[in-house]
Symmetry: C2
Subunit: 259 residues, 2 copies
DNA sequence: GCAAGGCATGAATCTACAT
DNA sequence: GATGTAGATTCATGCCTTG
C-alpha cells in the first residue's frame, strides 16, 4: 500500500479502495455526489439575464433513491474497513442527500461526534422567493463505531484559533471557492463545478489529525484535500473517477505555493 | 373533527391522529423524541460542581434504531395523510435522530424545501473538550410530495423582518427557553426537559402559515405550539401522551398574557 | 497609487398558467 | 394528469476597470 501514499488513484472509488489496507487511515474526508435531482432543461436567470449554471454532471445522476443508497452504502462500507479504530470519518452534504447518508452511516455502526454547519457567506440568493436562502452545507464527523476511543481532536488549538473560546459546530464560516483559488479551464470557465474551499478542508485536518497522519479522500476531484494535506504536513491518498480532474489535481499539486 | 380544534388530545399520537381527517391540516410542527441514547448513570458536572440533568425520560427510550424507525415512520405516515396538499410539515431534531427522520421522510415522498439551522445563542458548553460545542438544532421544512404546489411562504414579511434582505436558512438565532418562559414545577425544577422557545415556533408559524390556518403538533408537550398559535391567531390541535403535560399546557394557555 | 464603481458568479431539488 | 412555456427575481464577495 505504501506506493499509494501521496498519489491520486484514477478509477472507481469502490473498486480502488480495495487496494487500501484494513485499519490504515487516520482521517477520511468525503465529498460525495449530492444527487440534486434538478428539473431538466430549466435554467434560472439573474436580474441581468445571466444564467445560473447548475450542477448537471453525469456523476451526480442516479436512477432513484434506492440506487443512490446502494452506491452510498458500498463506498461507506469500504471507508469503515480502511479507517483505523481511532480514526475519524467526515462527510459533507446538503439537505438533498445528507439525511440519507447519515442514516446509512448510523445503520453501519458509525457513531456521530458532531454535525457541523459550514455557513457560506456568499452563497447564491434564492431567486424565486419561495424558500429560505440556502446558505449552508452540513458536515458529519464520526468514529467507526460506538466504542471507538482515542480519536484526535485538537481542542486547545481550536480554542486558541477561536479567540480563547470553545469552537462550536456553528463556527465554521467560510466563503465559497472563487477568485484565484478557483481552478479555471482554458476558456476561463470553472474547471470543476463544486470545488471546495481550501480553508474548509484545512479546518477539518487541523481539527482532527496530526502531522504525519494519513488522510484519505474517495472523491478527491481537483485535489483540494491533497493540497490541504501537503500544506499541513499530512500524508494523503485520493481516488478520482474522471481523468481530467486527476490531471488537473497533479498539475495543481506541482505548482501551488504556500503563501 | 371540529370538536378537536384548539384542544390537546391526551393519548398516543399515532392512535389519536386517526381522529383527524385526511388533508385537513395547514401546517404540522413536530418535536419528536430524539432517542439520545445517553450512557446510564453518568452525570456531567459544571465547574461549580452542580449536576447537568440530561434528558432521561421514558418517552425517549427505544430498544434499537429499528424500533425508533418504526415509531418514526408510523407517526409521519399519519402526518402525511392529514396534511393538506398545499400544507407544510416541519420537524425539529438533532444529529442523534434527524438523519434517520429525514431519510424516512424522503422515502415516504416528502419533498424538502429547506433544512434550517436553529443557532442557540446560549447552549451548554462542551464539558469534556472532546467535541465541538453543540450549538444548533436542525429543522426540516417540507411538502407532502414533490408535486405539491401553493404552499404558504411569507417571503416579503420575512424579508422585512430581516432588515430588507432575504431570510436565510442560517438566520434562525434564538436563545434557549429559560427565565420566566420556562415552566417550573412546585420545586422550581424545569417541568419539561426539552421545552422549546416560543420565538422559535412563532417564527415557524409566521414563515409558513396565515391567520385562521389550522396547526397540528403531535408531541405538544407543555403547549408551546398552542400558545404560539393562539398569539398569532391560528387554530391548533395538539396531542400529548403524558397527562401532567396536558394539564400544565392547559393551565399555561388559560393564564398567558400577550405582551 | 488609491478609491470608487462595474461586473461576474455561486451543489438551485422554482412557480404559475396554458394546452 | 402530464407537458411546455413564460415569468419573476437575489446577495455577498472578489476581481477588474475607470477616474
Amino acid at each position: 500500500m505504501k506506493e499509494l501514499i501521496n498519489t491520486i488513484i484514477h478509477g472507481d472509488c469502490i473498486q480502488e479502495m480495495k487496494k487500501i489496507s484494513d485499519n490504515s487511515i487516520d482521517l477520511i474526508f468525503a465529498d460525495p455526489p449530492y444527487y440534486l435531482q434538478l428539473p431538466k432543461g430549466k435554467r434560472l436567470k439573474r436580474a441581468d439575464g445571466s444564467e445560473i449554471i447548475p450542477v448537471d454532471d453525469n456523476w451526480d445522476k442516479f436512477k432513484s433513491y434506492e440506487d443512490y443508497d446502494n452506491f452510498t452504502k458500498n463506498w461507506i462500507v469500504e471507508c469503515q474497513r480502511i479507517l483505523k479504530p481511532n480514526g475519524t470519518f467526515w462527510v459533507i452534504g446538503m439537505y438533498h442527500n445528507i439525511f440519507r447518508v447519515g442514516k446509512i452511516m448510523q445503520d453501519l455502526g458509525f457513531w456521530f461526534l458532531n454535525d457541523i454547519i459550514w455557513i457560506k457567506i456568499d452563497a447564491l440568493p434564492n431567486l424565486n422567493g419561495r424558500r429560505f436562502t440556502n446558505n449552508h452545507e452540513t458536515l458529519i464527523w464520526s468514529v467507526k463505531d460506538k466504542n471507538s476511543k482515542g480519536y484526535t481532536f485538537n481542542y486547545d488549538f481550536l480554542k486558541q484559533m477561536n479567540g480563547g473560546k470553545q469552537m462550536k459546530d456553528t463556527d465554521w464560516i467560510f466563503g465559497l471557492c472563487k477568485g484565484h483559488e478557483r481552478l479555471k479551464d482554458q476558456n476561463g470557465i470553472k474547471a470543476h463545478p463544486t470545488q471546495k474551499p481550501l480553508k474548509l478542508i484545512q479546518q477539518v485536518l487541523l481539527s482532527a489529525s496530526n502531522k504525519g497522519d494519513l488522510i484519505f479522500d474517495p472523491f478527491i476531484g481537483t485535489g483540494t484535500t491533497a493540497v490541504a494535506a501537503k500544506i499541513l504536513g499530512r500524508n494523503w491518498i485520493g481516488i478520482e473517477k474522471e481523468k481530467k480532474y486527476v490531471d488537473l489535481a497533479y498539475k495543481r499539486l506541482s505548482t501551488f505555493l504556500i503563501k
